[in-house]
Every structure is written in structure tokens, then in C-alpha cells.
Amino acid sequence: MLTKRVIPCLDVTNGRVVKGTSFTNLRDAGDPVEQAAFYYHEGADELVFLDIGATPEARDTLVNVVEKVARQVFVPLCVGGGLRSIDDMRRMLQAGADKVSINTAAVQNPGLLREGAAIFGRQCMVLAVDARRSTDNSAITWEVCTHGGRKPTGMNALKWIKQAVALGAGEILLTSWDADGHRSGYDNDLNRAVSELVEVPVIASGGAGTLEHLYQALSDGRADAVLAASIFHYREYSIRQAKEYLAAKGIPVRLQ
């Protein structure tokens, strides 16, 4: 049986791991290569690196980080943040990333998903979406935000995700704009809506504060994977603890 994945996320800027609230108030949380190796040995199923600085100089630093990580971490690596072109993606994949996630660039140029899928395979193409709750005639909807969550686009997130999968996205990294950084649980209405909408895997992101939250995203939210940053970074819980908790609740997970 396919297991559910537990994925620590490393938000990186200028070669350091950072953590903030709703995309602001960043705090330093360590060296990305060390962190990655630590999570690998703890049993992380995959690692996600998001470059939230995303300046051209920071990009070079991240390529370097990915190369180092790929030499000692033997689980899939996904890299995103500020990737704008096929060349940007190729650099990350050549450095050792298995997948690239794109967000703003895909909104601005959806053809990038099709082109990337044709060149690298759709399994490499992760669509990252920052979705912000709103209402439409009292029904819940979600709006796509770009530029690290700072810019609302007016686009309906569900429609966008459906379109992006048709174009070539092989997986959705779904972040709740509202829940991110607040540690009060994932937006499981959002997770469930997207999981039921598309046939590609969905990674729930934004809002994990307890192990129960991970469980809720995988059960109630029907997500295929859960991504979390702060609960792992500050060693409140180990990856192993999280997996043992999920296993005890009947979620299939990989335990080494």
C-alpha cells in the first residue's frame, strides 16, 4: 500500500534556513545542508527547499546547497522559489533536485508547465499554490496569491489547479495563505477540495502546529503528503515521532 509522506520544508534565504509567520517576520533556523541530513536520518520521506529570498545571488547559493544535499541525502528533493524559466529549472535538476516547484512564474506563463513537463517529465513539475480564503455568495472559495503570498491575483485557486494539471503539473504543493505560520491546523476544506479535484498527488502545507494536525490533513483533508516546517525545525517533534503517531492512528507511513 502506498504510504502517506511526511515532508519537512526548509525555507531558505541567502543560504540559511528561516521561518516566519504568513510569509513575514523571519527567524534564523539553521544550516540547510545540516538540517537536510538530519531529517534524512530521522526518516523524512522527501525534502522541500523553498528559496524565499529568491534573488539571483541567492539562487546561486541554493544551487550550491542542493548539490551538497544531493550527495548525502537519498530521498527525493524538491526545490522551488523564484524559478522563472526552463533554464532555472534545469539548473536545479542538474544540481540534484528531483522536482522543481513553480508558483508565480506558472501564473504569469502557464505554458511553462507544459514546456517543463515535455522536457523533464510531469513527475518533475510541482505546482505550488498559495491559496487565500474568500467567499463568493457565502460559499467558500480560494484565491491564488503570488509573489510569496504578497500579491492576490483574483484567480480562483481550484480552477487554476485544474488548468495547471491539464497543462502538465504532476503534483500540487498546496499552501493555505490563511493558516501558514499560525500553527493552528491546515485548511482541510482546501486540502479536500483539491484532493478530490485532481488525480495528481496533493501535499498539504501551512498551519501544522501539532501531530494531530498532520493526521487531520491526511484523513479529513485527504492529502497524500503533509509538509511542515516549524514543528520539526525547533525539535518539538521528530519525524519519527510524527510517523509513529500517524501509524497508531491507522495512517500508512514508512517506518524504517
Binding site: 502506498l2 537519498f74 517529465g121 495528481v200 497524500d224
Partner: protein, 210 residues
């Protein structure tokens, strides 16, 4: 002797596709010095060869044929040279694939490559168990039903079970590992499957280079 073994030539075939670096990184981690190469003589002269694969089966076959590597792989099998094929590298060993229309493949293992059944998430992406259906030194130190990392939408369906070494369940039970003489193939990615994956490559190379 370990030192002896680690000085032997290991080629990772580069035919212009896939994440070749991760296979090479895994082998370096194990103390070997692989060469990532698109040179046919280098591949034919290696003591053990890896055929990685990421992407579409039809495209992969096209790249292998265009580069002349298809004939080299057939030659390696004929010579009984130890060969480890991964993911789409496994799929091209069969007779044909139905990915993006019908494409002829290498035909080393009679059978077809089919699309995973509908109703489950596709690609089949993540960690799933490999049930060992043969006993072989390549599984040494790897418990039955260990999780390995998969990412694929098509699967190999050999005509008979004679080469099937491992099976995995995802809607259906499919062949996730083949062994035929010195030919090894996995649908999963050992280089992305943590310590059990590294153990499998290590076992293969001990077997292949002894």
C-alpha cells in the same frame, strides 16, 4: 576484496535524459567511482552498468536509439554483463510500451508496459512496499516488504513470471523488480529510497563485481 571491487569500472549511461546525478551520488556514497558517460565503448567496457530513466518510455526509447545506446544495451545483455536498469530504464527492457501511443522497446523481457489503472492518484508517487518473490543476494539485509520510492504512471507487465523478483500493490499487483541472469531492473528508485536503496545497489555491485 573490497579495494579491488571498488577500483572496477562502473558506467552510468547518459543518453540525454533523467537525473543521472542521483544514481552516481549513491554509488559515490558507497565508495565507488562511477563514470557518467554517453560513450558506447566506455559502456561496453565497464564491469557493471546502470541504465537510469526518468520521463516517458517512448521518448526514452527514441533517445536510446538515436544515441546508439539501444544496441549497446542489447550487447551488454548478450554478454551477460551486470546491468541495473531503473524506472523507465526497466520499462524499455520489455517488448513495447503503450505510453503516448504504441512504441516498440528493446524486447529483452517479453511483455508490455501498461498504464496504471484509473481510480487512484497518478503518478503513483511515494513509498510503497516491495514484496520479494525470489530469494537473491541482491536482497541481502533488506527485509521483505521494505518501502521503496516510486514515481511512475506506467508499469512493466512481463508475459510470464520467470524474471519477476519483486511485486508491489497499487490498485493492482504489478512487477516492481526483475532479475534475469545478470540483468536487474527496478520500477522504484533505489537511489531515492534511503538506506535500503543504497543497500540494494551495494548488494548488486558485490554480486556483479565479485
Amino acid at each position: 576484496m573490497a579495494m579491488n571491487r571498488k577500483s572496477k569500472t562502473i558506467a552510468v549511461i547518459n543518453y540525454g535524459a533523467g537525473n543521472l546525478g542521483s544514481v552516481a551520488n549513491a554509488l559515490v556514497k558507497l565508495g565507488y567511482r562511477p563514470v557518467v558517460t554517453s560513450s558506447i565503448p566506455e559502456v561496453l567496457n565497464a564491469h557493471a552498468v546502470f541504465l537510469p530513466g526518468v520521463g516517458a518510455g517512448g521518448d526514452t526509447m527514441h533517445s536510446l536509439e538515436a544515441s546508439g545506446m539501444a544496441a549497446a544495451v542489447l550487447k551488454l545483455v548478450e554478454l551477460q554483463r551486470p546491468l541495473f536498469a531503473i524506472c523507465v530504464g526497466m520499462q524499455v527492457l520489455l517488448s513495447s510500451t503503450e505510453e503516448d501511443g504504441e512504441h516498440r522497446c528493446l524486447g529483452i523481457i517479453p511483455g508490455k508496459v501498461r498504464k496504471l489503472p484509473q481510480g487512484l492518484k497518478v503518478p503513483h508517487m511515494g513509498w510503497n512496499q516491495v514484496k520479494q518473490v525470489v530469494s537473491h543476494p541482491v536482497f541481502s539485509g533488506i527485509p521483505d516488504n521494505t518501502d521503496f520510492y516510486f514515481v511512475h504512471s506506467y508499469y512493466a507487465h512481463p508475459r510470464d513470471g520467470s524474471a519477476v523478483a519483486g511485486v508491489t500493490e497499487y490498485g493492482i499487483e504489478f512487477c516492481s523488480m526483475l532479475i534475469k541472469d545478470n540483468l536487474f531492473a527496478t520500477q522504484f528508485h533505489p537511489e531515492k529510497s534511503g538506506e535500503p536503496g543504497l543497500t540494494m545497489y551495494s548488494n548488486f555491485l558485490k554480486y556483479a563485481l565479485s
